[in-house]
């Protein structure tokens, strides 16, 4: 089974004309978790959105080694952001079934698709099976969050991009979620999580983001591109 490796080199990102990320480098492989840390507004969410392909990067490369060559990094990934992507007028089961049908499963390393759960199994695991036929609009914030997690379980994708995954969850649900993330890691999955709370996960690496300084904003004006090519050469050398 070939291993996956997500490699980011010199990633930079501009939001609203301001540089929020500069020279972000990391590597994370199968069965590993990367915890992105840093104070509010430092660009944790932006980094995840860049990896998910939702925000264009200004510089740098993001590559996935060992994945399906014809698919982008985003197509190997589940993005679990602040928004739950639920339709309040559809039932819990309808919401989940739709995403199950819609998402194209991406194979784990070795081309083997991991066993995925059925919708009801996933809801049961997360303790919201009793709400299956209720409209999603009636769920509490924590229940909506759990339903959103269920989406990650019903479609196999090797990379999980988690943005503040434990927000709105109570202690017990948090434990369940951390258990599910740990299962994913043990099964050969790859997790990138942005958080300001400590997450208790196995095989963890840390990436500490710090605010982009004014110096690097000057670099944005001119020297940045050269910088990036310099790095490239070093890597090749």
């Amino acid at each position: 089974m070939n291993q996956l490796k997500l490699i980011c080199q010199g990633v930079a990102c501009d939001r609203g004309g301001r540089r929020v990320l500069n020279h972000v480098d990391f590597e994370v492989g199968s069965s590993e978790a990367l915890i992105v840390q840093g104070p509010n507004g430092v660009g944790k969410s932006s980094l995840l959105r860049v990896i998910a392909g939702l925000v264009a990067k200004a510089n740098g490369t993001i590559e996935l080694e060992g994945g399906m060559p014809e698919r982008s990094v985003a197509e190997h990934s589940h993005y679990f952001g602040h928004l739950d992507a639920l339709k309040p007028l559809q039932s819990v089961l309808e919401n989940l079934s739709f995403w199950r049908d819609f998402f194209e499963p991406a194979a784990f390393g070795g081309g083997k698709v991991r066993e995925s759960m059925s919708e009801l199994e996933a809801l049961d695991t997360l303790g919201i099976a009793h709400t299956a036929s209720l409209p999603a609009g009636y769920l509490s914030a924590g229940q909506r969050r759990r339903l959103s997690v269920a989406r990650l379980l019903v479609v196999p994708r090797p990379i999980w991009l988690l943005d503040e995954p434990t927000s709105a969850l109570d202690k017990a649900s948090e434990e369940v979620l951390l258990g599910l993330i740990a299962d994913h890691i043990h099964a050969g999955g790859l997790v990138v999580a942005a958080t300001h709370l400590p997450l208790n996960l196995p095989n963890t690496k840390f990436l500490n983001l710090s605010p982009v300084t004014t110096e690097s904003e000057h670099m944005f004006a001119g020297a940045d591109l050269d910088d990036y090519f310099d790095e490239d050469e070093q890597d090749e050398g």
Partner: protein, 222 residues
């Protein structure tokens, strides 16, 4: 293939469950069409001459009514991000969303047209022609509108801007639609040319609409 069916079914259901669904559009259509005789006066000859145009304009405005939510609702709840990164062709996603939106809101307008035609004094042949031209031409309105909906997706009150953007683009559709409907009523030889142009516009919209709307949605994540 099954994902397309799931998307269509979901979009159709949501379009029908939100805010009265098809009925709201038809009622708005009814309101626009019934207001004309009050403005123009009870002149049946005049009304029947401009009747096709009234129905077409009514259908255009009713189509624009719900279009601003086509992608905006998905953007607000985060679904749009997942649609974009799902690995499915975004152009196809847009096309299916347009098809479902049209089936839920456009088709009822076409079905209501024969009844509303009576309000403006159209004869039987004209009723058939107006309904036929709307059946062929109204999808083009939805497809052009989808481009506007894609461009204005990140604006909180994009509905008005959407209309301002889309109405000029809808002019050719309106011209050929109305001229096919009115010319056909006078002389059936004059029907075919504008009608074929109308068909061409719809086919053109089928290709360009999804491409343009998908391109707009791709950059909306920023």
């Amino acid at each position: 293939m099954s994902w397309m069916k799931s998307l269509f079914v979901r979009e159709y259901q949501l379009a029908n469950r939100v805010g009265g669904g098809a009925l709201i559009g038809v009622l708005f259509f009814l309101a626009v069409v019934t207001i004309f005789p009050f403005g123009v006066g009870p002149d049946m000859i005049l009304l029947s001459r401009i009747g096709a145009a009234i129905l077409w304009i009514g259908a255009l405005l009713s189509t624009l009514l719900g279009l601003d939510r086509l992608f905006q609702a998905d953007r607000e709840d985060g679904s749009l991000e997942l649609l974009v990164m799902s690995g499915r062709s975004l152009e196809l996603v847009v096309l299916i969303k347009c098809a479902a939106h049209w089936a839920a809101t456009g088709l009822p307008l076409v079905l209501a047209t024969p009844v509303l035609s009576l309000f403006v004094g159209l004869d039987f042949q004209s009723i058939v022609l107006v309904t036929l031209t709307l059946l062929v031409g109204a999808p083009a309105l939805t497809l052009v509108g989808a481009v506007g909906a894609g461009v204005t997706v990140s604006m909180r009150r994009g509905g008005v801007l959407l209309s301002i953007l889309v109405i000029p683009l809808a002019i050719p559709i309106l011209i050929f639609g109305v001229s096919a409907a009115t010319a056909g009523a006078i002389d059936s030889n004059n029907f075919l040319v504008p009608f074929l142009f109308l068909c061409a516009l719809t086919l053109f919209g089928l290709v360009v609409g999804p491409l343009a709307a998908a391109a707009a949605l791709r950059v909306s994540g920023d």
